[in-house]
Amino acid sequence: MNFDDTPQEAAFRAEVRAWIDANAPTHLLEGLRSSGFGGLNLEGADPITLSKNWQKKKAEAGWACLHWPKEYGGRGATPIERVIWGQEEGPYGALGGVFIIGHGMCGPTMMAFAAEEHKRRYLPPLAAGEEIWCQLFSEPAGGSDLAGLRTRAEPASDGSGDWIINGQKIWTSGAHYSDYGILITRTDPTVPKHKGMTMFFLDMHSPGIEIRPIKQANGQSGFNEVYFTDVRIPDGQRLGAVGDGWKVSLTTLMNERLSIGSGMSTGFPELFDLCCRIETQNGLAVDDPAVRSKLATWAVRTTGLKYTGFRALSALSRGEIPGPENSIGKLVAGPTMQEIAMFAEDLQGQAGVISDPDIAAANGRFQAMLMRSPATRVEGGTDEILRNIIAERVLGLPADIRVDKDVPFNMIPTSGRA
């Protein structure tokens, strides 16, 4: 048991560190370090441009999408090398935020299902950050029940073999700055819901696409609604067979889990720091036994997640594939951050309401966490869906009873008050 790199890993780390030292945009470092939730602190500069610049520089030196094959713009690196890169890239990694979905989910799906000519055309610019991708999955009627989606793809009546898309997606991150997207649709509503779906990729500038940002509960806008009105997609952009969309989407979602990072933030270090500076009625918060008990619980959850990540990395370096057990990361971090934010507000007393970063403790990070954390508990699998995944796929408990499982999709009730 040790934290040490193998000699090969150490050599790789040294190479990465030297390159980053020589090439990283050091003038952005302070801003990136102090960036809060939902936005990069880049002093007014366009984050997309800065992100694309850094990605391009990495790509030119062979540091983009390390785990992808070289012919598609990657480096053919091992999973553990990818992790080492992430550790060394540190705060600069925040500049990769706009590429996470493209690199983590769209790219691997394209790699598994797209035609060779398409892989060669689309993957290298995706890797190099020249083109940004989004993922069009969730719908108003298909969130946790993704397979309830209703966006239709129908064969064009002109005999071209093209598909005509009508419907609506929601919660699409980055749709407004994306060039391409992968899209799951319903092609046959007369068969049970998991059997009638088909996946495509498409140009986000296609005629008939309308993108409307969603104003979130915290006032920011990171997601969009995307409306499709007679959008045409060539059949060559179909990913997988007609009716196999569910299977294709599972590949995408499995790759989401492979994106092991340095672990999700819980806000504990910020809270601990606050407790060392703020007073309760019993003196310094960190000396108050009631505060200590809560801090200890959040401390061990935070370290527990960190070392669970280390155990997953150990498995990865032995060549094992991470499984559904990695669902615990977000399940623990999301609610913990919310609890921490609420407690930090409590500690600040009346002043806890202030969200102005120039006045509030910790530059308003706790107020930002408070307002953002409800989303963490929902996006990319709700707490409840993650518990189902753990219960069913780790512990082997029976799947939920699905009353709509064998019913043709167009016979499934759509109102709870029928």
Binding site: M1, R292, A296, G304, R311, I328, L397
Partner: protein, 371 residues
């Protein structure tokens, strides 16, 4: 990065698990819980023969001379099996006190017998309800004679010797006491978990020999408790895993409303949360095990982390195991209560959860201040 136990260590765990499945089924735990014997002597002898009582004792003192990672995996298996033996007292505490502070003569006198299981040692600490602090240690030592009483001493009724925390003027010192000596009276106590026996020990001018330098008691206790905290955490992790498995198995088998109860989200989600606690505890335990086995400077922080996490996990899993079992979980016949008892016993061994929480934050604060 390698944050898992080695194949050899896993093999040792498998060997221990097989042995305990055979020699320590729950009927063996119940025999101690319900019967007159204070511990399972045959099992104790067997564990000694496997070398498990002397894992970290150097070979020159009759042990295996292995490391703490090996001891962690064995502690975990004993926790899974609820082994009704004085392992925690004798191996995690008495042995550790001797290794930390014993003179060569003391080591020669006791370590080989501890390794062979011929002697049992324990640590006598608390004197009344409440946290043990330097003030609450009133048992006094003068001229190598002890006067006073200790309560809830784990295995105090069966141990051959005890390490005793005693007041020497204004400081606390440790003494080694042969419990068969004149002036020592032991009274077995009724406890929440009779599968692990506890006693009150009265000392009336009982002969004792110093263990370690005078006035070094608190430092030694803190040092040994950190080591024992990691080992106990593994005992708790073993118990947490076992109760999670029991609850899972029952949820798959028990039918209600025409379905296995494990198909209801209320039950699935409770089990998922138990899995989360147990997983976090194991990961924190690995950190503690790493720090313990390498003698890392992070040990105090890692030990408190492992201890808090494992206590929370075992208590959480053991109580919800009863909940998943419903009424059957509250019967004497089902094993759920054995784990519930043990989880709550272990939660106050070595200092309670709230004390360890406090310790953890103190230590994090000290590190932050130093940094």
């Amino acid at each position: 990065m390698n944050f898992e136990f080695s194949d050899e260590q896993k093999q040792m765990a498998t060997q221990a698990r097989r042995y305990l499945a055979d020699k320590c089924p729950s009927t063996a735990v119940r025999a101690i819980l319900e019967g007159p014997e204070p511990y399972d002597k045959a099992l104790w002898k067997g564990l000694a023969e496997m070398g498990f009582l002397g894992v970290v004792i150097p070979e020159e003192y009759g042990g295996l001379g292995l490391g703490y990672l090996e001891l962690c995996v064995i502690a975990e298996e004993l926790g899974r099996a609820l082994a009704p033996v004085p392992f925690s007292s004798s191996v995690m505490l008495a042995t550790e006190f001797l290794l930390a502070a014993g003179s060569d003569a003391q080591k020669r006198a006791w370590l080989p017998r501890l390794a062979s299981g011929d002697a049992i040692g324990t640590f006598a600490y608390a004197e009344k309800a409440g946290a043990v602090t330097p003030k609450t240690i009133q048992l006094s030592a003068a001229n190598n004679r002890l006067n006073g009483a200790k309560t809830a001493v784990p295995d105090g009724d069966i141990a051959d010797f005890a390490v005793v925390a005693a007041r020497t003027g204004t400081s606390i010192s440790l003494y080694l006491v042969d419990l068969s000596a004149a002036g020592v009276t032991r009274t077995t106590l009724d406890t929440i978990d009779p599968s692990r026996s506890h006693a009150r020990i009265d000392f009336a001018d009982a002969a004792a020999e110093p263990l370690g330098a005078p006035g070094e008691g608190l430092r030694l206790i803190s040092e040994v408790f950190d080591r024992a905290a990691v080992l106990t955490a593994f005992e708790q992790i073993g118990g947490a895993d076992r109760t999670l498995e029991m609850a899972r198995d029952y949820a798959l088998e028990r039918m209600a409303f025409g379905r296995p109860i494990g198909s209801f989200q209320a039950i699935k989600h409770m089990l998922a949360d138990m899995y989360v606690s147990a997983t976090l505890a194991r990961s924190n335990g690995c950190y503690g095990a790493w720090a313990l086995s390498t003698g890392a400077a992070e040990l105090p922080e890692a030990a408190a982390t492992a201890r808090v996490s494992a206590t929370q996990a075992f208590q959480h899993c053991a109580k919800n195991n009863i909940q998943v079992h419903g009424g059957m979980g509250f019967t004497w016949a089902f094993d759920c209560h054995l784990f519930y008892r043990r989880s709550n016993l272990l939660s106050v061994n070595l200092g309670s959860l709230s004390q360890w929480e406090d310790t953890l934050i103190q230590r994090l604060r000290a590190r932050n201040t130093a940094a």
